[in-house]
Subunit: 312 residues, 2 copies
């Protein structure tokens, strides 16, 4: 039995459109009603046939929905919740996919009526792309989705079944703990990637063209993450400030210790750390959270012809 | 016409064995004579048929060679050069593939006789794997190889033709400049990746198992780089100390500025940086230095079955 027969998605970017595609494939009988603030995106969603109804206003899209999923940047969750508050059906479950949870839990609880069930969520899956064309139906398969309800109950159990149906594995967690965990596994890595790419494009002794040519030495890996959506990530750092600063403090401390080891030529210290860090990748592969193939399975051999000038 | 008819490779790890494979494919008439300090590796190289002669001693492998390529960690170059010095043919070209160049140039020049031509080199291509089984023939195709001869001349032109034959693009550069450029595009990224993986496995509030489960949020990208060979990377940091510390200083400065922007909630500063960093990835893809596919083309969808327990 399906947990929800009528689902509404607000925000048809990478995550919203992936959800729509996954629902189409895994729950073809669900009636899907979506909205997006951009007329272009709505037209594109119509053209791709991603939903039964594509509405101009979020409030229209949520009428009658048993499940509403907010797929907008974390900083916009409160405003979107306020826009739909009056039109939500009694007993509807309202969730989201935002990368930060404590601030979203607070914003949704404040904006929404007591007759709906707020169960914040976060699928730990994504790419560096944005928009409705970048989504795909299999994005959540084998990935974890974290739910952070204030109190677990029938609504969070239904939502868990929903995500499992899409191929995800589900874990329940306190919102504040979620934010500390993701500060380590996602927010700090993004911050550092953005930072190093900024540093590298700003040097006097090494040109930008050299940075690009020799990026296969490791740098290019960081540029993928640093190509992620600027607004989404701005909001993440603004709303998960405490946990990010705390984790960043720890990282800086460790980095300074490494710096010292290099300055004093302490080869054993370096080798010991570099040996220890190998094991964790093995575990990630064994857990099915990354590909076993070397170099992420990147194609080797002659590179593809340079892409045509992007007309956008 | 082939630039070299008899080639010798010392060290049959990832890079040495990739070179051997590439030579087999692209220059099948070359007589290839190799050596490795490990008996197991030598046996494996024999079994894989990667060379015409597999010698116990480097000095045996280089007799008569017109080109000798040292494929050992940067810190071992001087000692290996001393071992082969007496057996090199008059006029032989001696090169290497080490990730640092000024220290290798000094070590080779000091150890080798005046009747050979020293032309240090560095193919900017690799993976996180080690050993003779991890190499492949196409590793250098479309990648850059940097040569840092003290003075360009016939030897460096011959070596350039050799690398181009293997599919690489070649650039000549001053050794010190190489070390500054690679500090940015390779050494700093590795240092940071090792550091963040170390930090993440050492926290009190977030368990190691949580770090692994939710690594798809970005962290897993860093674990690939941090799974690279510990000895190779120890040597890189010990021999390129100045340039690495200088670049690290710049990075830390920029990171502290970002930290401050987060602390004071300066959303515009964050968004401006995050927007600027997008362009550089586009350039890397346009230059053929990374795949166009999202998420490096990682497979999405059901993860492969967890690997069998590795018996090693
Ligand atoms: N990308 C990832 O890897 C990832 C992973 C897990 C979770 N998330 C979370 O998923 C959510 C959506 O991210 P995404 O990657 O799907 O981003 P995206 O592709 O950029 O899509 C963002 C969506 O939010 C809408 N939006 C932006 N600002 C808005 C505002 N002020 N009011 C109303 N709608 C607004 C956009 O509307 P327009 O069409 O008008 O631009 C678009 O529909 C974010 O909360 C993010 O934290 C992302
Ligand atoms: N990996 C990369 O991505 C990459 C890219 C560009 C350049 N490089 C450079 O390529 C070189 C080789 O790296 P690799 O990735 O091929 O490493 P690898 O797979 O670990 O192979 C290292 C080789 O060096 C030998 N070796 C280690 N210590 C030695 C010593 N003290 N004396 C003599 N031989 C020794 C090893 O012998 P055993 O068989 O006995 O262990 C093995 O043959 C390094 O200088 C590295 O900086 C690496």
């Amino acid at each position: 039995m399906l947990s929800f027969a009528r689902v509404s998605i607000i925000g048809m970017g990478l995550i919203g459109s992936s959800l729509a595609r996954a629902i189409r494939v895994r729950m073809p009988t669900v009636r899907l009603s979506v909205s997006d603030s951009s007329a272009d995106v709505r037209a594109r969603v119509e053209a791709l046939g991603l939903a039964d109804d594509v509405c101009d206003l979020p409030a229209t899209a949520v009428i009658d929905a048993e499940l509403v999923i907010l797929c907008v940047p974390v900083g916009a969750m409160g405003a979107v919740a306020a826009e739909i508050a009056d039109d939500l059906a009694e007993g509807a479950v309202v969730t989201d996919v935002g990368s930060v949870k404590a601030s979203v839990l607070a914003a949704l609880t404040a904006a929404l009526p007591a007759h709906v069930h707020v169960v914040p969520g976060h699928p730990v899956a994504g790419t560096e792309r944005s928009g409705p064309d970048s989504g795909f139906a299999t994005l959540f398969e084998g990935r974890w989705c974290i739910l952070t309800p204030q109190q677990p109950g029938p609504a969070s159990r239904q939502l868990q079944a929903f995500w499992e149906r899409l191929g995800a594995k589900v874990e329940l967690m306190d919102a504040a703990h979620h934010d500390r965990v993701l500060a380590v596994t996602s927010h700090l890595p993004h911050l550092i990637a953005y930072s190093i790419v900024g540093t590298a494009s700003d040097l006097e002794t090494v040109t930008r063209s050299e940075v690009i040519k020799y990026s296969a030495g490791g740098f290019r890996d960081f540029t993928r993450i640093a190509a992620s959506d600027p607004v989404m990530w701005r909001d993440v750092f603004l709303t998960n400030r405490e946990a990010v600063l705390e984790t960043l403090g720890r990282f800086t401390e460790d980095l300074v210790a490494l710096q010292r080891a290099i300055r004093w030529g302490e080869g054993d210290t370096l080798e010991a750390l570099f040996t220890r860090t190998r094991a964790i990748r093995r575990s990630i592969i064994d857990e099915g959270q990354d590909t076993e193939a070397e170099d992420f399975g990147r194609p080797h051999g002659p590179p593809a012809e340079p892409a045509d000038e992007d007309p956008r």
